[in-house]
Amino acid sequence: MNLSPLHFCLLFSSGLFCIGLIGALSRRNAILVLLGIELMLNAANLNFIAFWRFSPNPENGHGILFVVFSIAVAAAEAAVGLALVISIYRHQKNIRLPEATRLKG
């Protein structure tokens, strides 16, 4: 099969996404879950850049603009996530996520 540079970039970003997902799903520590989430976001950003770079007209900055916005949102979301982690810590004195089952129905 013909693997173009775009394919490599996309494969790479998928792999990154999967790693991030696995990390988010299986880490006990809340911060590491946030890390995984950041990885997933960055994988998506990579996807954007890849498609921008290998698009027909790379001179307009649409792809980069998307990514800039995405990074800003990721930063805000990390802030919110950290605030949640601090809240959880205040409740349970640790940040082991499996222990946070108070919404169990």
């Binding site: 988010a24 799903l25 879950v33 946070a100 089952t101 919404l103 169990k104 129905g105």
Partner: protein, 671 residues
């Protein structure tokens, strides 16, 4: 003073006002209650005298004052007052005798705690009786008739703590009620037949020619004329009220009331109401029966019942030992005489005897009351005796009353009134039986009255209370003297030689010549009776209370039967009484088992329906809903198991879902 009939209402209204005052007077307001009663009666007497003077002017007129009470639909219900000689004479008598008895009661009931209640009831009775006398309407008469019966009940049962008095009051009321039913039926029938309840109404009244003519021509059950049937029904009321056979049983028991009550109600006035009623409706009773299939005159029945009662009362009286019972049966007998007089066609003789009887019987009862008061309520004549000495005034007046009742000739009014009755009986074409009964009763009357006087006043005192007796106070002896004077005075207004009263009452009747033979015969009979009584009881007075009565030695079974009042009460109890008891028991059983059973059955049905309802509700409906809710909750619980509370678990689901979605998109083509 000229009095029109319009002001006749004052005569009953004044005692009614006194009764109202007496009803609201507290126990201690003796002066107020008694004063109101006596003043009202005195004023009523004055108005009655004025009415009497007005009637003197024109004795043939029937002055009426009619008015409409209220309208029933389109027909008016009219009441009215009637002023004619009969009304005037009766009103004067009732107010005068009533006034004297009221004054007597001041002394007799002095020690009684219920003094004010007594005078209230006395005034009520006086108002009702006077209302009965002045009434021009049968309805008003019936209302007052019933009120008089009520007053009698209240006064007989005045000492209601005594069971005997309460029972006697009940018996009087119920027995007269039986008669009143007949009277009411008669009144209703009369209203239906003639359309009017007024006696005189300018030509339309029931005692006037037009109504009487229509009543004579109609016939009813058994071929009797309607006027006869109505007359007999009205006579039923008189039988009850005036103690005729067979409804005489209440009068002796009525002696349980205080003696002034016995004097006023059961001697002078109330029992005379029956006689007055028949005299009032005499044109109806005497209406010609020629057109009826069965020409039975109501007056024939009246005469025979009157004769029977006269004889019955006299016969039972000879064996009684209670002073008031003797006088009670004497009253029964004398009322029989009055009915006899009405029956043989001479209502004037009946009213004359009523007037004289009122005076001497009230005198006798008040005298008996004086004796009872002096002997501290000892009423058995076997325990009295020798009271002639201590109770001089009472003895003198009682003797005058006795002589009037027995018919001692010439000076005493009773002789003349009885004479006129016997004379009318002698002139009756239908039968001589009433005359025979009347003559026998003359002997017996003289006999039992002599016996009473001898046992009570002569001889020696047979008990400590008789020995300790002393004369009654002036308040009690003055009415006695006035009544004695009246008894003698009345004898001058009705003799055959100057029949002023007869002419006044009925100016249209022709004067009857006096029957000298009959007069001599009755004098001989009176002498016979009194002589026998004197010989048996005064010559050899009873030594001890328990000694045998001389008559009892002669014919013991008869005397014991008479002393037991011929067992009328036992007979009525065994027949009507037992029947009523049985019927009441039957009705009770019917009520308890059948009607009540039906209702309980219905209740059980409702209960059953209710329990079925409840079962359906609880098990089917509730249970169904509960089960459904349980299932829902179980289902919810099952689904809730998916809520582990772990974020990473939820994320897992999202991831798996995303993968599946991507696979579907890849394999199924991008759509």
């Amino acid at each position: 003073m000229r009095l029109s009939a319009q002001f006749l209402w004052l005569i009953p209204a004044l005692p009614l006002l006194a009764a109202g005052i007496g009803a609201f007077t507290p126990r201690g307001g003796r002066a107020l209650a008694a004063g109101a009663a006596i003043t009202a009666m005195a004023l009523a007497f004055l108005v009655a005298c004025a009415a009497f003077l007005a009637a003197l002017r024109d004795p043939t007129a029937h002055l009426v004052y009619n008015f409409t009470w209220f309208d029933v639909g389109t027909s008016p219900l009219r009441l009215g007052w009637l002023l004619n000689p009969l009304t005037a004479v009766m009103c004067v008598m009732v107010t005068f005798v009533g006034l004297l008895i009221f004054i007597f009661s001041l002394g007799y009931l002095h020690a009684d705690p219920n003094f004010t209640r007594f005078f209230c009831f006395l005034s009520l009775f006086a108002a009702a009786m006077l209302g009965l006398l002045v009434a021009n309407s049968l309805l008003l008469l019936f209302i007052c008739w019933e009120l008089v019966g009520l007053a009698s009940y209240l006064l007989i049962g005045f000492w209601f703590h005594k069971p005997a008095a309460a029972a006697a009051a009940k018996k009087a009321f119920i027995t007269t009620r039986i008669g009143d039913l007949g009277l009411l039926l008669g009144i209703l029938w009369l209203y239906d037949a003639t359309g009017s309840l007024l006696f005189f109404d300018g030509g339309n009244g029931v005692l006037e020619a037009k109504a009487l003519a229509s009543l004579i021509t109609q016939t009813t059950v058994g071929g009797l004329a309607v006027s006869t049937a109505i007359g007999l029904l009205i006579f039923c009321g008189a039988i009850g009220k005036s103690g005729q056979f067979p409804l005489h049983v209440w009068l002796p028991d009525a002696m349980e009331g205080p003696t002034p009550v016995s004097a006023l109600i059961h001697a002078a006035t109330m029992v005379a109401a029956g006689v007055f009623l028949i005299a009032r409706v005499f044109p109806l009773m005497a209406a010609d029966q020629g057109l009826a299939t069965v020409p039975l005159h109501a007056l024939t029945v009246v005469a025979f019942i009157g004769a029977l009662t006269a004889l019955l009362g006299a016969v039972i009286a000879i064996a009684q030992n209670d002073i008031k019972r003797v006088l009670a049966f004497s009253t029964v007998s004398q009322l029989g005489y009055m009915m006899l007089a009405l029956g043989v066609g001479s209502w004037v003789a009946a009213i004359f005897h009523l007037l004289t009887h009122a005076f001497f019987k009230a005198l006798l009862f008040l005298g008996a009351g004086s004796v009872i008061h002096a002997a501290h309520h000892e009423q058995d004549i076997r325990n009295l005796g020798g009271l002639r000495g201590p109770l001089r005034l009472t003895f003198a007046t009682f003797a005058i009353g006795t002589m009037a009742l027995a018919g001692v000739p010439f000076v005493f009014s009773g002789f003349w009134s009885k004479e006129s009755i016997l004379h009318a009986a002698h002139a009756w074409h239908v039968s001589m039986l009433p005359l025979a009964a009347g003559l026998i009763a003359v002997v017996l009357t003289a006999f039992y009255m002599t016996r009473l006087v001898a046992e009570t006043f002569f001889g020696h005192a047979r008990s400590p209370v008789a020995a300790a007796a002393h004369e009654s106070p002036r308040r009690m002896t003055t009415p006695l003297m006035i009544l004695a004077g009246g008894t003698i005075a009345l004898s001058f207004i009705g003799t055959p030689y100057w029949p002023w009263l007869q002419h006044f009452l009925d100016p249209t009747a022709h004067a009857d010549p006096s029957d000298l033979q009959l007069m001599i015969l009755s004098i001989v009979l009176v002498a016979l009776g009194s002589g026998t009584g004197w010989a048996l009881y005064a010559r050899h007075p009873r030594p001890r209370p328990t000694a045998a009565d001389p008559l009892a030695r002669l014919a013991p079974p008869i005397i014991t039967a008479l002393a037991a009042r011929l067992h009328f009460d036992e007979f009525y109890h065994a027949t009507f009484g037992q029947f009523s008891h049985g019927f009441a028991r039957f009705a009770d059983g019917l009520d308890r088992f059948i009607w009540d059973g039906a209702i309980r059955f219905l209740a059980r049905l409702s209960e059953f329906a209710g329990s079925v309802n409840r079962d359906v509700d609880e098990n089917a409906l509730n249970g169904g809903f509960d089960a459904a809710s349980e299932n829902l909750r179980a289902g919810g619980k099952t689904y809730a198991q998916a809520q582990t509370g772990q974020v990473q678990g939820y994320l897992r689901f999202v991831a798996v879902g995303f993968v599946l979605l991507a696979l579907a998109a890849l394999l199924g083509g991008f759509r």
